[in-house]
Amino acid sequence: MTDPSPPPGTPAKIVLSGVRKQFGAKVVLEGLDLEVGRSESLVVIGGSGTGKSVMLKCILGLLRPESGSIRVDGEETIHYSRGDRERLLRKFGMLFQGSALFDSLRVWENVAFGLIQGRAMPRRQARELAFAKLAAVGLGADVGELAPSELSGGMQKRVALARAIATEPEIIFFDEPTTGLDPIMADVINELIVKCVKELGVTALSITHDMASARKIADRIAMIYQGRIIWHGSRDDMEHSGNPFVDQFINGRAEGPIRMQVRAL
């Protein structure tokens, strides 16, 4: 196992150490350590049920870990009050797996939501910005007036991406950004993510089990298995990591040290 720290010279933006989370008797995160450097794109790979989503939700404060430390910009956030939490969340944007667009609002209102509700920006101004963000992800002005349910999955993903970047956050989380998309649309989304991350200079933390996506958007890759980070390194190191778990996962083999949980616990 290697020491989970970012490349030297990059100050860490998010530091998790010893994070432990369990639901009832089931331990999901078992002392997880992870560092995400400023302006780097870290992709956490891992199978279903290894605790990837739970990790993101712990950092956002949607779930509270039993123990451990989560620092953002050097500040410990585990015991934040609600007010501090809301202030912290202004730094974050998130692209949800199922897009999670508000279906009671039109597309542009979805994109402008964080600006209007979170930052109290006047509607007219937020609307203009929303259309600019929609254009940035390749969607025309006509889409802005539609309801989210009228869009295809790929377009919904783009809108969700526009919403995640609309408030110009410092950190963006991507939760399975390509799941449920065809390979071409998946690549379009990957390209958009790379473009947004580079242009905005944000810190990106993604979780995925899609290796094509991971290879495309990652500066650095970490692998999570049974609630711990078992390997991390640069994108190129991954191909010859010498770690049997990583090898099995990135090549998608059924045979190997990782045993799939076929039956429920």
Binding site: K57, L60, G61, L62, R82, E86, L89, R90, F92, G93, M94, F96, Q97, G98, A100, L101, F102, D103, S104, F113, G114, Q117, G118, R119, R163, T167
Partner: protein, 257 residues
């Protein structure tokens, strides 16, 4: 002994969920007092609960008033007390049937819709998305519904009272051949302010319970479409039970000797 253990377990689960609901309600209420309040959302919920429930509540009240007149007339005729029909109709509607029936109808119409909408938002991660957009989901989703429930049900019940009494009037005058002027004066004769006010207080409490149960069960729904279905059922059933239970308690507060 297994039998006793099962009773104990059920009782503990009951206490636990009661505690959860009370905490949920207190947290939501504390948000009512702190800015920002989403006035646009409160307005939309008020229209949904108040305006769009008018037909269903109005029809319920109309037929209840009509059947009440008919039933009490045929019942009272057995001991020559037909003159009490007007009084019975107005008291029963304002004190009891107006608020309870309106509450139950709204629980079916609004409570279910709230649980389904918020539940779907929960399982599709829209509630988590609200948090990441620096918006408190309790404040954005729950507070407007609670405020709308609390304020709109009394207005609905006021309408139900009037429509219900009118239903009784129609049947009495056109079917049972009462004199309209006498019927109306009888309606007013024994009616006190407290009869109507107690009904409106009940309505407010029922409206709060309907919204609270809809929001609570929706907010805590789990596991996809089936979870949302369960949440909807639970919202309607628990709201209905709370309405009937609190109806007895409030009646006791107002009219006990």
């Amino acid at each position: 002994m297994d039998f006793l253990a099962a009773i104990g377990r059920a009782f503990l689960i009951f206490l636990e969920s009661t505690g959860r609901i009370v905490l949920f309600a207190l947290r939501a209420l504390s948000h009512c007092a702190r800015p920002p309040l989403y006035l646009r959302l409160i307005g939309r919920q008020m229209i949904d609960i108040g305006y769009y429930s008018l037909p269903v509540v109005g029809l319920t009240a109309l037929f209840t008033g009509m059947v009440l007149a008919l039933q009490s007339y045929t019942g009272f005729a057995r001991f020559q007390a037909e003159g009490a029909v007007a009084t019975v109709v107005v008291l029963a509607i304002t004190r009891e049937l107006g608020p309870v029936l309106a509450g139950l109808m709204v629980a079916g119409r609004i409570g279910a819709a709230m649980a389904a909408e918020i539940g779907t938002m929960r399982v599709t991660e829209q509630i988590d998305a609200l948090s990441t957009l620096a918006t408190n989901p309790l404040k954005y989703l729950v507070v407007p519904r609670l405020i709308a429930g609390l304020t709109m049900l009394p207005l609905l019940v006021l309408v139900a009272d009037i429509v219900g009494v009118f239903g009784g009037f129609l049947v009495s005058v056109y079917q049972l051949n009462f004199n309209p002027a006498v019927y109306l004066s009888k309606t007013w004769e024994f009616l006190k302010v407290v009869d109507v006010v107690s009904g409106l207080v009940k309505a407010s409490v029922f409206g709060f319970f309907v919204a609270l149960m809809g929001c609570y069960h929706g907010y805590h729904s789990r596991g996809g479409a089936e979870g949302v279905g369960t949440a909807t059922t639970n919202a309607v059933v628990s709201a209905s039970i709370l309405i009937l239970l609190s109806n007895y308690l409030i009646t006791g507060l107002f009219f006990s000797k």
